[in-house]
């Protein structure tokens, strides 16, 4: 029996956090935000970085007149600067019962990734929101900003309880309603959705989020160590399946798993969603430091 990971496991160690200090999140899209942040926006704003000129019209702030131009040309021009905006980074973490599974534990693994991404976001003054969902959103930590609030994120992630069935559609819908700001959405799940993952992902796509999906499976799911006549019981909904595990059945299972993951990847790729697959066996720092960087999420 695969034991659930200890609740108080350390999500991030200081050495790893030091490495993360060097990284920042990259969004392939530039989003508008209410608060000014550390990122350049398409909107002209009041950062120190010059962008363009335009003719003065009555009512403009006289502080932005370019007096040098006026002296030379005797015409009034307003200096326009790039507006810097903050980046919304939302982490959607699957905390359904099935995630509290595997050796190494999938839940711990996804929380660690979430913590690392959240840390990178906080270090770069991004606005970080963490949502834990199972059958709908269960826990949320909204709009945290700044490195000093990292403890809140750690606390939040340590606090979540695993339980209930996974319902991405409900969670996606709630998230889309509550979180109108565009930004990066990182979805961490095993994507074993009995009703399908498509609807949930469609809600995220509709809001034009920059969506990253990370599918985490335990080694026991990739290569099940089962033999004999078994009654398999789903931890989430107590659904049972009577199987006589044979080589043929195992091969069939593996082919089905491959097809399922392939289907998810294709679904995501076609819709501009970045898809990662990882086993909880792969060291999570490797996933964060090299895998995500290679795929362009981090720089």
């Amino acid at each position: 029996m695969i034991m659930a990971a200890k609740r108080d496991s350390q999500l991030l160690d200081p050495e790893f956090m030091a490495k993360l200090d060097q990284l920042s999140l990259v969004s392939r899209k530039i989003f508008a935000s209410k608060l000014r942040g550390e990122r350049l926006s398409k909107r002209r704003g009041d950062s120190a970085e010059f962008a363009d000129y335009r003719n003065y019209v009555v009512g403009d702030d006289l502080r932005y007149l370019d007096w040098n131009i006026y002296a030379r040309l005797e015409r009034l021009f307003i200096k326009l600067f790039q507006q810097e905006e903050d980046l919304h980074v939302s982490l959607l973490v699957d905390v359904s019962k099935s995630m509290d599974w595997g050796d190494p534990n999938k839940g711990l693994y996804t929380r660690r990734i979430a913590a690392a991404i959240a840390y990178i976001g906080l270090v770069n003054f991004d606005r970080v929101s963490v949502y834990a969902y199972s059958n709908g959103l269960q826990y949320e930590l909204v709009g945290v900003r700044g490195r000093r609030l990292m403890f809140k994120v750690i606390e939040f992630l340590n606090k979540v309880e695993y339980g209930g069935p996974s319902n991405l559609a409900a969670a996606g819908k709630q998230f889309a309603i509550r979180h109108p700001q565009q930004g990066i959405v990182l979805l961490l799940s095993d994507f074993f959705e009995k009703d399908g993952y498509e609807e949930g992902l469609r809600y995220l796509l509709a809001r034009k989020y920059d969506v990253y999906t990370v599918q985490v499976l335990s080694p026991e799911e990739i290569d099940p160590p089962l033999v004999g006549d078994l009654r398999l019981m789903d931890v989430e909904d107590d659904d049972t399946a009577e199987v006589t595990v044979s080589r043929a059945l195992l091969n069939r299972y593996k082919r089905n798993l491959e097809a399922y993951c392939g289907g998810l990847r294709e679904y995501c790729t076609r819709r501009g969603i970045n898809y990662f697959f990882t086993s909880s066996e792969v060291p999570f720092d490797q996933v964060v430091l090299s895998y995500f960087r290679n795929r362009g999420l981090l720089k």
């Binding site: 399946a241 043929a248 299972y253 089905n256 798993l257």
Partner: protein, 675 residues
Amino acid sequence: MSFLSPMAIAIAAAATIPPLVALYFLKLKRDVRLVPSTLLWKRAVEDLHVNSPFQRLRRSLLLLLQLLVLIAAAIALGKPMLQTTESHLDTVIILIDQSASMNVVEADGRSRLERAKEQAKRCVDNLGDDARAMVIAFCDRATVVSSFDTDRAALKRKIDSVEPTDSSSTLGEAMSLAEAYTQNIIIGGDEAGADKPPDSTAPPASVFLFTDGRVQDSEHVALQKFALDKISVTNVARRSDNVGIIAMDARRDYERPEILEVAATVENFGPEPVTVDAVLYIDGQNVDVQTVRLEAAFEKVEDDSARPPRPAENRMGIIAFDDIEFGGSGVVEVVLRIDDALSTDDRAWTVIEEPKSVRLLLVTAGNMFLESILSSLEIEMVLMTPAEYERAPDDALQDGQHSTFDVVMMDRHSTERLPRGNYMFWGGVPLIEGVAAGRVIEDEVIFNWDETHPLLRHVAVETLQVYEWLKLDLPPEAVSIVDGETSSVIALLARDASQYLISAFSLIVDDEEAGGPMVNTYWPTTVDFVVFVQNSVQYLAGNAAAVGRRSIRPGDPVILPIPKRTRQVKIHRPDGVTESLSAAGYETLHYARTRRVGTYRAEPGLRGRDVFAVNLFNTVESRIEPAEALTLGAQSVEARAGTIEVNNPAWRYLLLAALVFLLVEWVIYNRRVFV
């Protein structure tokens, strides 16, 4: 397949199969394992179901295998028997042919009798637990080898004790014996020791007949007690190649008695033409060799017509050894140099005595025919009238108790004065016990005669016509040679070392109407009469002085004269056995253990009469080809070739199957464990 104890199957199946099924479902109370999601598992299982229609079967394969094991074991407990046509028989009679043709050595090196005994023992093995069997061996007579017995080992020992003979085979006596025995089965009374009377409602007996189908009298077998469908004939015969001597004769030349002529008739009974060498031995010395070519027994049928093949004309040949110079007495033997199936008929023997002059006394009141014919023979003849004979002193007629003449011929004279010797009566009888002459018979014809008898050798009895003869009253041991409609015309009687050849008619009768002697028959004017007189004199005067002594058939009794005051006689048989017989007070010895062919010698014996030969000379036995059907009475019973099928206990194979099933189950189980 049937079952000796079918209830055992039901009990075993009821006791084991429901618990197994129950245990199977208990055993399939599957271990519960938690998995993150059954999503993919369900899909995989569904996929497999779609792809493999036998998946459901596969799931319960172990149950199926275990059920098969149980079923096989349950059936095995029912004592299943394969080919059980012979089981559940209450009364079985086993008839084993031990006749000469059963000595044929078949291709596998075993004789037909050995094969028949083996088949019979298989038949015994097939007996049900409560069945009883009796064993009868038959040749020219039937012998109860074992009366009804349920002990199989004892029955098989008795079957083993059946010995080969060279006799002919007659089934009638054996069948009568079997019927008699089945009618008198004592089933056992209600109380200890109380026997039931013969029960006519005794269960019908089954008869198993082991033979090669060469049965002489099968068509005359009358079945009263046995249903034909209860008779099973097992034919043990395969080979049909045989060449045999069917007749043999040795004769001294009439004018030169020291010259011997030997003739043997040889017949080919096989399907192929043969060339065979016949070797003549006299007293074991090789004397001459002749070669004869014989065609196949039957003509080849060219087309496939159903017409039975005709016997070939040249299947028989006569081998003649002429001008053999041999003046003494001895055993003449003809041997065929051929390796055929039956060796019994490849040899024939006859005993020849040294030529001697015969002293004959003719007692007649005057008979032209006899006087002239006898005087023409090379014999020493003395003539007496009946009155002279009766008046003659004892010294003139007898030496001790024996006659001084080799042959005494009485013409129309019946007398009591008969010292031991050889007598021939014409129109009279010896006045001894059991023999009497009755009324005169007229207007009857002669219609039957034993043409094989040496007295009728070369005699055509068809020409014999007699006007009248005396009705003879003869004792049962008398042998009739020529028969009229109501009585014997010519008969031979042997008693107390004397032989009496009695002709009921005389050659001449006194006719009162004619007032003188009249001819009673014209026979004396024919050559046949001359030959008959010659035969009679030679036969009576020592049987074989000039002619090879008549050989007897296997099983026939023989009368041997023995010297006076002999206490014990040893008989040296051809199979090497010497029998000692008590002979105190007897002058002759009746010997009947002549089942094997060859020469028999009595010791001590009368010189010249101490050796006799037994020859097969039986075309029925020599024709060894397998008979496809045996006609019993008016109906034909198909002869089952091959072997009796034995009740082989089948439970071994079923238990073996159970083991194999268990092994397969074990392998499958282990494969599943280590996927």
